[in-house]
């Protein structure tokens, strides 16, 4: 053991970091049909050319394909305001190449259907009409927005297959950051392409995909490092929501010291559990419309109390487009003990290709929504600013407010002592204020009944009121402080008593999660093919029907539109097993409209009736009191 310790002491400082990274390196489980796996930067760059796009969209080749290396990428380059540097990984296929690709893939799927990807329930079958309509608009907007050409994904697949990556270990780019008592092990993965949209009905395609996860360790009193938390990057989740406790086996799957990650097919988002995730992406520009809709919904549910006896559930956001992220984990696996293994690359010291290149790592589509633009490297955002996950890994996962476990007790003691001092000060102030108030009270009693001192009496009364209010505020603060101190004392007892801690630690370790990515339940996946078909065609059929109505029967436009809408909404409710809810909503809506008509027609009569009813009630109530 001493020899090993001596060897460790003699080893360069980065060797210990490498060892730490290897000890907790993750196991990544992919879904069948995944084409892109973590790749090495050198190979990726060798396939790329480097370009510049200026503010008005003129594109200029800076470095030709085959000549881009990490060193070339890191070379300093001038860029005018609004110019963007970017890489181009794959050139789109021409028509014969694309045809051959499609045919080959089709034949391969026919020969071995079990090896390919099979979508389950369509994403549109899981959401309501408004989301489907927004989705149709979103898909239509792709024609107008900048986007990665469809055949680029096919070209990227072909290019990626030339790597023969099955024969060699996959690299991850590791980094060890010591911050606020936490030791963050960052694992970065470079995927050559994100083909979520073109291959898996997702939101976007883009070249290059940098994904990341972090394992957080803390130093124990004996000096060893112990894991406490992990955080996986996943779409727009951030802060506390991305973090899970290391020993929460219900939330986090592990094989020994290796956390298991379920990777979304095509999107490469990381999930804690296998399954199919309904991910809602906010559509820019429509977000501001969601507030009035939510207000209306809140009025309906809270004021009119129309939620019924159903359990509360998370309603999908009204102006978000739903996508399904498939993270089934039934495909290849990379990690310790798996068929494919890791080859760690330490980002320490930070290589110049990380710190010096602020451009995009793939095609710049000039998409205003940015979803089709490639990301920047691990250190930077698309706009060139430094990523929060890079400069503050603890804060990125909401750990900046969480002390490492061994330090918590000391911090708690210190905080309790500070609060106790504050309480003492408040008590002293209360005594002083009480004395003062009593003195004024005595004077006030003396002034009463002396008409010639009326002015002084008014002044003293005002002072007494002010002092009394002050005293009330101080007492409230003391009472609040006592409650807080009690809560802190309870927590201290819990920390000091391992038995009490073990009893509720797991629950407590989940309390920070506000929004959790949940895979679809078996019930949600139990949709019939007809329901899926209906969800897929409904919006299109509705729009065509409206046009037909306009052309063929314009005189019945209003009635026809109502009938159309009613039919579609009813059919949708049937397929989504929500007829009961629909009936309640329609009934209550009709009742509201009828009430408004009645109020309009009999406003004065209702007003008089209301006043008479109030008078009779008051009369009856008072007489009842007298009778008692």
């Amino acid at each position: 053991v001493r020899a090993v310790d001596d060897a460790r002491a003699a080893a360069p400082p980065h060797a210990a970091d490498r060892e730490l990274l290897r000890r907790y390196e993750p196991i990544l489980r992919y879904t069948r049909g995944e084409e892109f796996f973590p790749s090495d930067v050198e190979w990726y760059l060798a396939q790329c050319s480097l370009w510049e796009c200026d503010a008005v969209g003129r594109r200029e080749l800076l470095v030709e394909e085959g000549q881009v290396t990490p060193a070339v990428l890191a070379q300093p380059r001038r860029a005018e305001l609004g110019a963007v540097h970017y890489l181009v990984f794959s050139d789109p296929l021409d028509l014969p190449e694309m045809t051959a690709f499609v045919l080959r893939e089709g034949v391969a799927r026919l020969r071995a259907p079990e090896e390919g990807f099979r979508p389950s329930v369509g994403r549109l079958a899981r959401v309501g009409y408004l989301s489907r309509l927004i989705d149709a608009l979103f898909s239509f907007s792709l024609l107008l927005r900048g986007r990665v050409p469809g055949d680029t994904a096919a070209a990227a697949v072909l290019l990626n297959r030339t790597r023969h990556e099955g024969d060699q270990p996959h690299p991850y780019y590791g980094r060890v950051v010591r911050e606020q008592g936490w030791v963050a092990l960052q694992y970065w993965f470079l995927y050559p392409f994100n083909n979520w949209r073109s291959s898996f009905f997702g939101m976007n395609d883009h070249e290059a995909d940098w994904e990341m996860l972090v394992v957080y360790l803390h130093e124990q009193p004996e000096g060893d490092l112990a894991p406490a938390w992990v955080a996986y990057a996943s779409h727009d989740y951030q802060g506390d929501d991305v973090r899970r406790a290391w020993d929460d086996r219900q939330e986090l799957e592990r094989v020994g010291d290796h956390p298991v990650v379920y990777v979304g097919v095509g999107s490469h988002a990381a999930y804690y559990r296998p399954g199919e995730y309904l991910t809602e992406i906010e559509v820019p520009y429509l977000a501001r419309l969601s507030r009035p809709v939510k207000t209306l919904h809140a009025f309906w549910v809270r004021l009119l109390r129309q939620s019924g006896a159903e359990p509360p559930r998370d309603e999908p956001e009204p102006f978000r487009v739903p996508f399904v992220d498939y993270a089934r984990g039934d495909g290849a696996s990379i990690g310790p003990g798996q068929a494919r293994t890791w080859a760690p690359v330490l980002l320490e010291p930070v290589p110049s290709w990380v710190s010096q290149y602020r451009g995009l790592w793939g095609y710049y589509a000039r998409d205003p929504a940015a979803g089709e633009d490639a990301p920047a490297g691990p250190m930077y955002n698309r706009d060139g600013s430094v990523r929060a996950s890079w400069y503050d890994p603890a804060g990125w996962a909401g750990l900046d407010k969480v002390p490492p476990p061994p330090r918590e007790l000391a911090i708690l003691d210190e905080h309790m002592a500070t609060l106790a001092v504050q309480q003492q000060e408040l008590e002293t102030r209360i005594v002083a204020r009480t004395d003062e108030l009593r003195a004024w009270g005595v004077e006030l009693a003396a002034l009463r009944g002396n008409a010639h001192l009326a002015a002084r009496q008014l002044e003293v009364e005002q002072r007494v009121r002010t002092l009394s209010a002050d005293l009330d505020t101080l007492r409230k603060e003391v009472a609040q402080g006592e409650v807080v101190l009690e809560a802190l004392a309870r927590r201290k007892r819990r920390i000091e008593s391992p038995a009490a801690r073990a009893a509720d630690e797991l629950d407590e370790r989940r309390l920070h999660i506000r929004r959790r990515a949940q895979p679809a339940t078996a019930a949600e996946l139990r949709w019939s093919r007809w329901a899926e078909l209906w969800a897929a065609v409904s919006v299109g059929v509705l729009l065509v029907s409206v046009v037909l109505l306009l052309v063929a029967a314009r005189e019945f436009l209003f009635v026809g539109l109502l009938a159309l809408l009613a039919t579609f909404v009813f059919l949708d409710a049937v397929f989504r097993r929500g007829v009961g809810r629909l009936v309640r909503t329609v009934t209550n809506g009709l009742a509201v409209v009828t009430s408004l008509i009645l109020i309009h027609a009999f406003f004065w009569q209702l007003a008089v009736l209301g006043i008479v009813a109030a008078g009779v009630y008051v009369l009856w109530d008072n007489l009842r009191e007298l009778h008692r």
């Binding site: 019924g308 006896a309 009961g580 009936v583 009934t587 209550n588 009709l590 009742a591 409209v593 009828t594």
Partner: protein, 143 residues
């Protein structure tokens, strides 16, 4: 025989547990009963010329709406009994019939022959059916 006697007064496993009918549920049933009669009356009046003299009014839509009110009225009476006896289907059927009752009232209003009593009866029925106590009484029973 002995076993049959001993089972009297003992809740059987297949029988749902019966609680006291709340005042709100009884009141709802009475409101539905009144609404049912209002619907039958309103519909009957619209159908009277046709039934007595075989005379079709100029606007046959009035007759259709009257017929609808007449039919729905009888069904609302059945729903009122369902609510009073706290049958699991009582609340759902009553609520569904309100769609037809309110739609009938609104259609008459749009045609220029508003029947405000019918409309008021529909609104009051929806309000009482939406009382939390009533909803819970039926949701707890699987309604």
């Amino acid at each position: 025989m002995g076993s049959a006697l001993s089972s009297i007064g003992t809740p059987q496993p297949h029988e749902p547990h019966r609680t006291r009918r709340s005042r709100a549920v009884s009141f709802t049933a009475w409101v539905l009963l009144v609404e049912g009669f209002v619907l039958i009356g309103s519909g009957g009046l619209a159908l009277l010329p046709l039934a007595v003299a075989g005379y079709w009014p100029v606007d046959r839509r009035d007759v259709a709406l009257g017929a609808l009110a007449f039919v729905v009225g009888w069904q609302v009476l059945v729903a009122a009994l369902g609510v009073y006896w706290r049958r699991p289907w009582g609340w759902s059927v009553a609520m569904t019939l309100q769609v037809l009752s309110l739609a009938d009232g609104l259609a008459q209003f749009l045609l220029g022959h508003p029947d405000y009593v019918l409309m008021l009866a529909g609104v009051v029925a929806v309000v009482v059916l939406n009382q939390e106590e009533v909803r819970e009484a039926f949701s707890a029973r699987g309604g």
